[in-house]
């Protein structure tokens, strides 16, 4: 194994550590509940291997025990997992030349997507294909392992894990902040947050995702001229004084403690 390969593997392992935490704990939770409803290890493995969608698998437990019809199951899956269409659309070009493509597409969960979607934090990766494959594979294995452990052994961790699933929220938030800091154009990020909050208020927590996706698509379509990230060559007429995103601010001295979500958000 070359040093480049080793380095990429190590990077993939580090990047997926937060997912390891979240997936093992949430996977165990899934396995435990499934067991308590009378479905053993083969069911846990089959569902984690063939569905591999965290929140949907929790919903599927209720479908199983509630005796839902196949049609109802299909509709529920469509509603809960429709956001995966979004991930596909935004990875069409990136995954075009990647191998093994079917595996990469099948394993594109929320968490895997958050690790492969943006170029922020990808500096120093030698072989992106290898890196993407490892990130996808590791996450997949964490989830399967977690659900198997939970199903076989129950809740075995010797300490209270209450709240540990916040690791996944923190992961998404960190990616969001990293993306925010590494671009000067925040229109798309703002559209995502505002459209989601708006739909959450009007459609409620159970039904807001699909309206939010439609609203985001609509807004980004209308704002096509404004929303393109400034890394694009088209915007070169607007010269950016600082080349490297890391040197954008002197972080230690200028932490915008009063209003962190607005930090770095000023267009200059």
């Amino acid at each position: 194994m070359t040093t480049e390969t080793k380095s990429d593997l190590r990077r993939a392992l580090t990047a997926t550590l937060p997912v390891l935490t979240g997936y093992v704990v949430l996977g165990m939770g899934f396995g435990v509940i499934l067991q308590s409803r009378g479905y053993g290890i083969l069911w846990a493995l089959a569902m984690s291997v063939f569905i591999y969608a965290g929140s949907m698998q929790y919903v599927a437990i209720d479908l199983l025990t509630g005796g839902a019809s196949l049609f109802a199951a299909a509709l529920t899956t469509l509603a809960v997992n429709a956001r995966h269409l979004f991930y596909g659309i935004s990875m069409v070009d990136k995954y075009r030349q990647m191998k093994p493509k079917p595996f990469l597409i099948f394993t594109l969960t929320d968490e895997t997507y958050s690790l492969v979607c943006s170029d922020a934090g990808m500096e120093g990766i030698h072989n992106r294909n290898l890196y993407f494959f490892c990130v996808s594979l590791f996450n997949y294995l964490y989830w399967i392992t977690g659900s198997a452990i939970g199903n076989l052994l129950g809740a075995v961790l010797p300490f209270s894990t209450e709240g540990i699933d916040f690791a996944l929220t923190a992961l998404f938030l960190t990616v969001f902040v990293e993306q925010w800091l590494s671009t000067k154009n925040h229109i798309s990020a703002l559209v995502g947050v505002l459209a989601s909050v708006l739909c959450l208020v009007f459609a409620g927590p159970e039904n807001f995702l699909i309206p939010a996706m439609l609203l985001i698509t609509l807004a980004l379509t209308l704002l096509r001229k404004q929303a393109l990230p400034p890394e694009q060559p088209q915007t070169e007429e607007d010269p950016v004084p600082v080349e490297h995103p890391l040197s954008e601010e002197q972080p230690v001295s200028t932490v915008p403690a009063d209003n962190p979500t607005e930090g770095g958000g000023r267009h200059d």
Binding site: Y87, V92, F106, L108, S118, L171, V175, P205
Partner: protein, 105 residues
């Protein structure tokens, strides 16, 4: 529920999930050039989707009990703006959240 129905139910859930994941790639596959509109969406969507996922994770939070989430989220943002280190931000936020929900609230 019969065993067969349960197996079919898992199969249907799997099939629909796979369909949703593969559909965009199937539509824009092959050597045809990706339409400019899709390329554009591919560039801007990651920013919007991360915002959407953060809201998605916090959707169940209601005002008085949202304090631990709010504190932990602010900590994650501050840590990340300060250190720009993903692991530190996530670890700090998660440990803070666990302490808050287990010991304080």
């Amino acid at each position: 529920m019969t065993e067969l129905h349960a197996v079919l139910l898992v199969a249907v859930t799997s099939a629909v999930t796979i369909l949703l994941r593969f559909l965009p790639f199937a539509v824009f596959s092959g050597n045809r050039k990706t339409p400019a509109y899709v390329t554009y969406l591919g560039k801007v969507l990651p920013y919007a989707i991360m915002g959407m996922l953060v809201v998605f994770c916090l959707k169940g939070v209601s005002a008085p009990y949202g304090i631990p989430e709010a504190i932990a989220c602010v900590l994650v943002i501050l840590l990340h703006v300060w250190k720009r280190n993903t692991l530190i931000s996530i670890l700090g936020g998660t440990v803070c959240y666990m302490v808050l929900v287990q010991m304080v609230f």
